[in-house]
């Protein structure tokens, strides 16, 4: 009996060591050996205090292992790492757990997906969330599932929406308290967007926030006629969270159809917004709309960064977002008050953001069926790929594109489950787009340095206390730069476009940096 008790205590202790509690998620910054949430911590910084890999030795980085997920394509996952185990997702809703030191698989999961799915931009998944001994995945067929951390077995599986109408999930969930929060994709198909919270224990839906208000709800008047029914405003990138204010900050995407606004007159709330939702109820605390009545597909689905700093002489709780529309915004995250917006590249759709936070739209640009050249292009000055904020430098690292596009615009009838774009955008035939990783002063937006990319990017940035910022290029180069100067420290060619952002962790005293590319994860360490 005594032996049995000891065994129980032993295994109990081992299990509890593996449990990821909400308290651990709140203080994720204190355990840099792990990577516990999509952005590494609730504030969205994608920054690590690990400093074994530094500006002095990054040039010696060497591959430690690779892990093949088997599906070539846009590998967009951000893995999680908990106590030596790495959890990730792959294209076509694969999931896996691997030994973070060796890359050897512990289990694999492959969802059985229906044939007719309508993700706009690839059969992608951006990652998981974890709580306790459960991993949470939002799937392409619009389900939310819980997997057992040790086996990959499905613990619960709930339907969020009808995939026949092109509702899909590509987002990595965010766990807050006992909730699994997800946002829907499908803005290119005229879905009515939403953000959901599910009970981590049972899968029961706790709340839903519709991102297009229905009749009688505030904001409904910003849609002409019945256009709200197919208004889009998806919510396909993982938000951030302030535990003290108990607010979830979740950005939304384009109104539908994205390139034709003739039948959706008005500002089209809550498309292209930052939403501040009460974490317990999903009720809207405040919103800020970046691009009202958007005609250029400027989803605001970029990760909001939460920062406490002095602003005009007094401490303030700030929210920063380098927006796809080309402006770096600073808001007060307690109430959504607009503080500033500065362009961080070439912008022609608006001449400036006014003192009220609303864009001063360039009146000379009129959309038409033949095409109007507008900057930034439809893929934005930046996009969903992660920015990084380093408290050591006070800089925000943002991957940027120079692409401008010819936006053509024409009415399009809506058909459920079919694309609903209102025409098409075409790459600028005059200038070949390039890109850059830019270091911006987080508060003023001033550019401190810029590292040029040959092509426009699809991958984001990770910064560390070692003074290194890691970034991935569309041309397949994984790069390490000096956070202070942008000096090129190291690079390696991975043979496929990089569509994600690196993470870092430490096991057995060794710091790892992991990046997905093509069909594989690549892990690098010092020799």
């Amino acid at each position: 009996m005594k032996r049995a008790l000891l065994l129980a205590l032993f295994f109990g202790a081992a299990l509890s060591q593996a449990q990821v509690t909400y308290e651990r998620l709140q203080s994720a910054a204190n355990e840099p050996q792990n990577w516990l949430t999509y952005s590494g911590r609730y504030s969205g910084w994608r920054y690590s205090t690990l400093d074994q890999i530094s500006t002095n030795n990054a040039s010696h980085l060497a591959m430690q292992w690779t892990f093949q997920v088997a599906d070539l394509g846009q590998f967009e996952t951000t893995p999680l790492v908990v106590d030596g185990v790495l959890y990730g997702t792959g294209q076509n809703d694969r999931a896996f757990a691997i030994d973070a030191r060796t890359g050897r698989p512990i289990w694999r999961y492959q969802r059985s997906l229906p044939e007719k799915l309508q993700p706009c931009c690839g059969m992608v998944n951006r990652g998981m969330a974890i709580l306790g001994d459960r991993l949470f995945v939002a799937t392409l067929d619009a389900h939310v599932i819980a997997l057992d951390t040790k086996s990959g077995n499905v613990l619960w599986d709930v339907t969020a929406a009808d995939y026949h109408k092109a509702y899909t999930f590509t987002v990595a969930p965010l766990v807050v308290k006992n909730e699994v929060i997800v946002g829907i994709s499908g803005g290119e198909y005229g879905v009515r967007g939403f953000i959901d919270a599910y009970d981590a224990a049972t899968g029961r839906r706790l709340w839903r926030f519709e991102t297009v208000p229905g009749p009688g709800e505030p904001g409904h008047e910003t849609w002409k006629g019945d256009s709200w029914k197919t208004g889009g405003a998806p919510a396909w990138i993982t938000g951030t969270y302030d535990p003290e204010l108990n607010l979830v900050y979740w950005p939304t995407g384009n109104p539908a159809p994205s390139n034709y606004g003739g039948e959706r007159g008005g500002d089209n709330l809550y498309s292209n917004c930052m939403l501040a939702l009460d974490a317990d109820t999903g009720k809207l605390k405040w919103y800020f709309q970046f691009t009202p009545h958007d005609l250029y597909d400027y989803d605001a689905t970029q990760i909001p960064i939460l920062l406490d700093a002095q602003w005009e002489g007094r401490p303030r709780k700030l929210l920063l977002q380098a927006n796809r529309n080309g402006f770096l915004y600073v808001l007060d995250r307690t109430d959504g008050k607009f503080l500033s917006a500065k362009p961080f590249g070439k912008v022609t759709w608006a001449t400036e953001i006014g003192a009220d936070g609303k864009p001063v739209v360039n009146a000379s640009l009129k959309t038409n069926p033949e095409g109007t050249r507008v900057c930034p292009g439809a893929l934005g000055l930046t996009n969903w790929y992660a920015p990084s904020y380093s408290p050591d430098t006070g800089l925000l690292y943002v991957a940027t594109s120079t692409e401008c596009d010819l936006f053509t615009s024409a009415p399009q009838p809506y058909r459920a489950g079919h694309d609903f774009l209102g025409s098409v955008y075409l790459p600028d035939p005059v200038e070949r787009p390039t890109g850059a990783l830019k270091a911006l002063d987080a508060l003023s937006g001033a550019e401190k340095w810029s590292f040029p990319y040959f092509s426009n990017p699809n991958g984001g940035a990770l910064s560390t206390a070692g003074g290194v910022v890691f970034a991935g290029e569309s041309d397949g180069n994984f790069i390490a730069l000096d956070t202070k100067t942008g000096h090129d420290l190291w690079h390696v060619q991975l043979g496929a476009a990089i569509y994600s952002t690196a993470i870092t962790f430490q096991v057995d005293g060794k710091q790892y940096v992991v990046i997905p590319a093509g069909a594989a994860l690549f892990a690098f360490t010092l020799p």
Binding site: L379, H418, V424, N458, G476, I479
Partner: protein, 297 residues
């Protein structure tokens, strides 16, 4: 009328109304109904085409830098509805035409839209392809830089199936004004959103100040793979050179009227039109159309 649109003929008949029954039986009504359905399909097809096909085939389907003119009446991979359906849904292996995951009804709508388009006002090929081939391999020097079915240079794009993949108007522009719309080069299947490199003039200044001019087969932030004008391949690391400049203009010289008069151009176009990826270049042919426009004379 709108209510009839939402009811099938059979449903209307089951309503038992003699009037509506007569309407259903009326050839006039049937013709009108067919016209309405056709019009709706064309409208839908125009939208689906615009969103999915126009980046390569042009907004008006008259051909673009990557796809042929779909109004020319020439269907390389079959002209029946079934053949066009197959081409759209399955793509054409070995070409830039991809398979498309569209609904069957959407593909049928695209076909309706394409069938509705007016015949082209493009300049048409009416020259002599045999003489055109001689110009290609001789006076114009095209073969010095372009390969056809395994013969020729490697500096410019392979033209073995250019007649199937480019419109006549595009070919004329490419000869008279090669800078107007630069041809695309390597397309990386792993780089979904990345734009292909174009055949523009690239100049590399080496560390010792010497220069290399050519076209880039590929390039990234750290390296460039260049074919110089002497058709040699150079594998260059950017850290080893002073400068890599893209001039956004073609290496190919523009062929003016002085270099290639109207009839010679027509003959050359007629030859290029025969290049469809098969070894049929020896088959002399006359152009399919007569009545060419000023541009073709």
């Amino acid at each position: 009328m709108p209510i009839f649109k939402s009811l099938s003929c059979g449903m209307v008949l089951r309503l038992g109304s003699a009037i509506t029954g007569l309407l259903c039986l009326s050839p006039l009504y049937a013709a009108e109904k067919t016209a309405i359905e056709k019009s709706a399909a064309v409208k839908e097809g125009a939208s689906v085409f615009r969103a999915n096909c126009s980046p390569c085939h042009g907004l008006n389907a008259r051909g673009g830098g990557r796809g042929p003119d779909l109004t020319s009446g020439r269907w390389t991979h079959g002209s029946s509805d079934a053949a066009i359906f197959r081409t759209i849904s399955q793509g054409v292996p070995g070409t830039e035409m991809p398979a498309n995951a569209l609904e069957d009804s959407e593909i049928r709508a695209i076909i309706s839209f394409l069938r509705s388009l007016s015949p082209p006002k493009n300049p048409v090929a009416m020259g002599d392809s045999t003489q055109g081939r001689e110009i290609f391999n001789g006076k114009a020097g095209c073969a010095d830089c372009h390969m056809v079915l395994g013969h020729g240079g490697v500096l410019g794009p392979d033209l073995s199936r250019v007649g199937a993949s480019r419109s006549v108007a595009y070919l004329i522009d490419s000869i008279r004004q090669p800078n107007k719309d630069l041809s695309t080069g390597i397309t990386d299947p792993n780089n979904h959103y990345g734009l292909a490199l174009v055949y523009d003039t690239v100049t590399v200044v080496n560390a010792d100040g010497t220069k290399l001019t050519g076209v880039a087969k590929n390039e990234d932030t750290y390296s460039v793979q260049l074919i110089s004008t002497d058709q040699k391949l150079h594998l260059l690391l950017k850290k080893d050179v002073r400068e890599v400049t893209h001039e956004r203009r073609s290496l190919m010289p523009p062929y003016s009227e002085d270099a290639l008069d109207g009839p010679q151009l027509q003959n050359l176009i007629a030859y290029l039109e025969t290049l469809r990826g098969e070894d049929n270049a020896n088959m002399p042919s006359r152009g399919l159309h007569t009545g060419g426009t000023k541009e073709a004379k």
